[in-house]
């Protein structure tokens, strides 16, 4: 069991059942695609697949599992849009790897830590997406710190609530 830097306590490494491992990301993708039909601003500020990626990666505390989780969810999200496949995939791979690496080092079980981690990773995700979309795919993108911070805060707030719900599905190893 890894030992955290923050509390020097052994932290738990969790695992999830197969239905949860498949069903929760699918549900997040479905909600991300469906909710904007009723609430158009939802897609502008919230990224449910990102929150699910961060949650699974932090709970598993395994960088390889985290990066693959991020890659699969990101690629699936890419496929719902019309842009080239891989932009979300790359961004969420980086986030999955970073979140699980951080989960090994830090105690991310409390709400405050989760809020900050989610905010930070939202910005990382946006930065990677922006770089890939502009640098590799030559898409026209504009970076806005204001929008980034607002969306990051919104995602962090939603993430804290969501993580507490998803904690119910955790299984101890």
């Amino acid at each position: 069991m890894p030992i955290t830097y923050t509390s020097n306590e052994q932290v738990e490494v969790y695992r999830f059942s197969i239905p949860v491992t498949i069903g929760i990301p699918l549900l997040a993708l479905f909600a991300q695609a469906f909710i904007p039909l009723r609430f158009p601003r939802f897609a502008v500020y919230f990224d449910l697949p990102l929150l699910v990626t961060i949650f699974f990666s932090m709970a598993r505390r395994n960088p390889v599992a985290g990066l693959f989780t991020g890659a699969v969810i990101g690629l699936a999200q890419d496929m719902l849009g019309h842009n080239p496949i891989g932009i979300y995939g790359i961004a969420k791979t980086v986030v999955g790897y970073g979140a699980s690496s951080l989960g090994v080092k830090l105690d991310v079980e409390n709400a405050g830590a989760r809020f900050l981690v989610t905010l930070g990773f939202y910005l990382v995700h946006s930065a990677v997406y922006f770089t890939v979309a502009r640098g590799l795919v030559n898409m026209t993108q504009t970076w806005s710190w204001l929008h980034g911070m607002l969306a990051g805060l919104a995602n962090a707030a939603l993430g804290v609530l969501l993580y507490f719900l998803l904690d119910k599905f955790k299984q101890r190893t």
Binding site: P63, L80, H82, L136
Partner: protein
């Protein structure tokens, strides 16, 4: 070496996974630039994901609609009677409006007939329901519940009653992906309703819709309607797109025009997919019994008709003209000469009236003028018949008769009456117009 690999195992895997994705991305971008499509090359994997997500969306939309229908159709009927009365009044007003518009439309069709325009018409549409979106503000697409099975194909136009929505981007068996007009990769050929300026409508990364390629020295009024121009070969001409919301100076020599879409793109529910367009030329049957020249001539100010005595005298002079004379050669239209209706012949100044935008083309010029080439020829050949025709007689559309449309009047059947060989009453008709048939006449049945 092994210790290094073991130590940096996670990082190496990360780099490997990222490298593979970048490679895949580069392949797609290269294929796009070669003219291919990522939707084609990665179709199977997209089908899997879309197939996994859309059934849930479809089911949820079905449940939602069912509940909504149950509520609205059975429980929530308050105010229906008042609404019904209001709608009836509205129908009455719309009927009056329809009468006026149909008159204008009929005239437009007649004019198009004369000019041999070909126009695309909406022949068949399929109604579809929006069941999902891409879930990203960087990819403004929606999914509809109709696909290949319903006859939908790529690049078909999608619209609502308010205006255009986008085009079909990817077609799956039972769903389709629609690219909205506010996506930054979309482009629609548009025209401004009054100023007739043409441009390209594009989306931006922030979801706005802008009109590009309009020169900065043009005047674009706010609130002007934007319509499709038909130049993109996707949307038929004349569909509403939106209104001009803001005009500013853009890059280079172009204006930056922000357009407010007519359709509410953020709250789409039902859409129509244009699955069949019909390109046809207006035919004479479509245009009714009267020529546009006649209509126009009737509307123009004219000299009052001659007194009845003169008319009777003229009629007496022409009674000797055999009625079948004009039918010589199997051509039915003696009434071709009807273009020289009493009103028309009283417009001496209109002989050389040019058609706007068509200088130097006498054939076209004459085709839309009351004293068109056909009218002149008819007047040359059968002036008596034309002048004795009563004003209220049913008028028929000029047909090319037995002579081919490209033939000159010299090849036409000879006149049978002495009057027909009389000198032309409208000598202003230029000779070259005779050798070049008017476009309006060249529309055989």
């Amino acid at each position: 070496m092994e210790s290094v690999l073991g130590r940096y195992r996670n990082l190496i895997i990360l780099v490997g996974v990222l490298f593979l994705q970048v490679l895949g991305l580069a392949t797609q971008v290269r294929e796009d630039k070669r003219g291919g499509s990522d939707a084609q090359s990665t179709r199977l994997i997209r089908i899997w994901v879309v197939g996994a997500i859309t059934p849930f969306e479809r089911g949820l939309v079905w449940i939602q609609d069912g509940t909504s229908n149950l509520w609205h159709n059975y429980f929530y009927l308050r105010g229906v009677r008042a609404e019904n009365r209001q709608l009836k009044e509205q129908i009455e007003q719309m009927r009056l409006e329809q009468v006026r518009l149909s008159e204008d439309a009929a005239q437009a069709r007649r004019l198009q007939t004369l000019l041999a325009f070909k126009e695309e018409f909406i022949a068949k549409t399929v109604a579809a329901q929006v069941i999902g979106s891409s879930g990203s503000d960087l990819s403004r697409t929606v999914y509809i519940d109709k696909g290949e099975n319903a006859g939908i194909k790529r690049d078909m136009a999608v619209m609502t009653a308010d205006g255009i929505v986008g085009k079909v981007l990817v077609v799956y068996p039972s769903v389709s992906q629609v690219l909205l007009i506010n996506d930054q990769s979309s482009g629609v050929g548009v025209i401004l309703e009054k100023t007739r300026l043409q441009g390209v409508l594009k989306g931006t990364s922030t979801g706005e819709v802008v009109l590009e390629r309009v020169m900065s020295d043009e005047q674009v009024p706010l609130g002007e309607n934007v319509l499709t121009s038909g130049g993109d070969q996707i949307f038929p001409k004349g569909l509403p797109v939106g209104t001009v919301e803001k005009v500013g100076n853009g890059k280079d020599l172009f204006l930056n025009i922000k357009v407010k879409p007519a359709a509410n793109l953020s709250k789409l529910e039902e859409v129509l997919v244009l699955i069949e367009k019909q390109e046809r030329q207006q035919t004479a049957e479509d245009s009714g019994r009267m020529r546009a020249a006649d209509i126009l001539a009737q509307r123009l100010p004219s000299v009052p008709d001659k007194p009845p005595e003169d008319a009777k005298a003229a009629a007496a002079a022409t009674t000797g003209t055999p009625k079948s004379a004009a039918g010589t050669g199997g051509s039915k239209p003696t009434t071709t000469a009807s273009t020289a209706s009493p009103t028309t012949k009283n417009l001496p100044g209109a002989h050389n009236a040019p058609v706007a935008g068509q200088p130097g083309k006498p054939a076209d010029l004459t085709s839309s003028s009351p004293t068109s080439a056909s009218a002149n020829r008819a007047a040359d050949s059968k002036p008596a018949v034309s002048r004795t025709k009563p004003a209220d007689a049913p008028l028929k559309v000029a047909k090319p008769s037995s002579a081919p449309s490209g033939s000159s009047p010299s090849q036409a059947p000879p006149a049978t009456s002495p009057e027909q060989s009389a000198p032309a009453q409208t000598p202003s008709s230029p000779p070259q117009s005779d050798s070049q048939p008017p476009a309006g006449e060249a529309s055989p049945q």
